[in-house]
Symmetry: C2
Amino acid sequence: MFSKACEYGIKAAIFIAVNSSENNRVSPKEISEEIDSPQAFTAKILQALVRNHVIKSVRGAHGGFEIAKDKIATTKLSEIVYAIDGDGIYKGCGLGLHTCNENHPCPVHDKFKVVREELREMLENTSLEQLALDIKAGVSFLKI
Amino acid sequence: MFSKACEYGIKAAIFIAVNSSENNRVSPKEISEEIDSPQAFTAKILQALVRNHVIKSVRGAHGGFEIAKDKIATTKLSEIVYAIDGDGIYKGCGLGLHTCNENHPCPVHDKFKVVREELREMLENTSLEQLALDIKAGVSFLKI
DNA sequence: TATAAATAGGATAAATTTATCCTAAATAAA
DNA sequence: TTTATTTAGGATAAATTTATCCTATTTATA
Ligand code: FES
Ligand code: FES
């Protein structure tokens, strides 16, 4: 469904949100250990999230990754997915036609569109805050 | 969402269904032209569909690929997706945890599960016959 | 039986995604 | 200002997916 990069990006963002809510910056090393992902690859994904203004990085001693507290509640999963995987999952044809077009639909267009919209709404309505709270409460998990 | 192989496999199966309903066997060459896919790669995917008993192949002169007429109505998209991409899309964790487990859920489990079930139901309730009829009627398309 | 037509399948290559390594640049603090 | 720490980013490699090529096998028919 999502690329590995996107899976890592989502989990990393949640972990950063958990920590930023406690005024704690985190490093790629900590992140990759907590979400069980390859460190250098994860660092690349974090760069992409920084470039797309999803998270913030602070270089140098005492640096690390963080999310502004007021952004935790407003940042939606869709922004992370969009920053890493692009909008193909929202807009692309399920059978790979060049464009998904009502006037030139693929065989599954009507049915696929419904599922795709459901996914889009889910991603657009789910905030980092919601997900981070569950991690804090110990009712959801980032690895294994 | 689906792999290229799976996209080609679905489109190929629909095209074969359209032709088998008119007692017409088709070759990888015809198929790949009609669905705009690489011929040799498409041939491999057709082999997989034959091995999984989704379609039937007839070797030798006057051979080609076909689907038994009575299978066109009973064959669901889910069988094709399963034969090519496996069950990851139905059962796998959206964030890549080793297993999707109610008792050890990832942060998006509850929300993701809903979308995944919707997709599964769509695939399990959509038959090749429905899709082939739209192609025949010229209201849906296999390429461009 | 010989030939032509057609799928099966092995070997290989290209492209993309995933992953690693090393150095540069920035920053805080001694 | 020097040093230690930390992210940025280029280069490269490994793994996977996608794609191609060639030969083997099967089958209908002349
Ligand atoms: S045309 Fe294929 S999903 Fe819309
Ligand atoms: S545990 Fe991630 S989707 Fe169920």
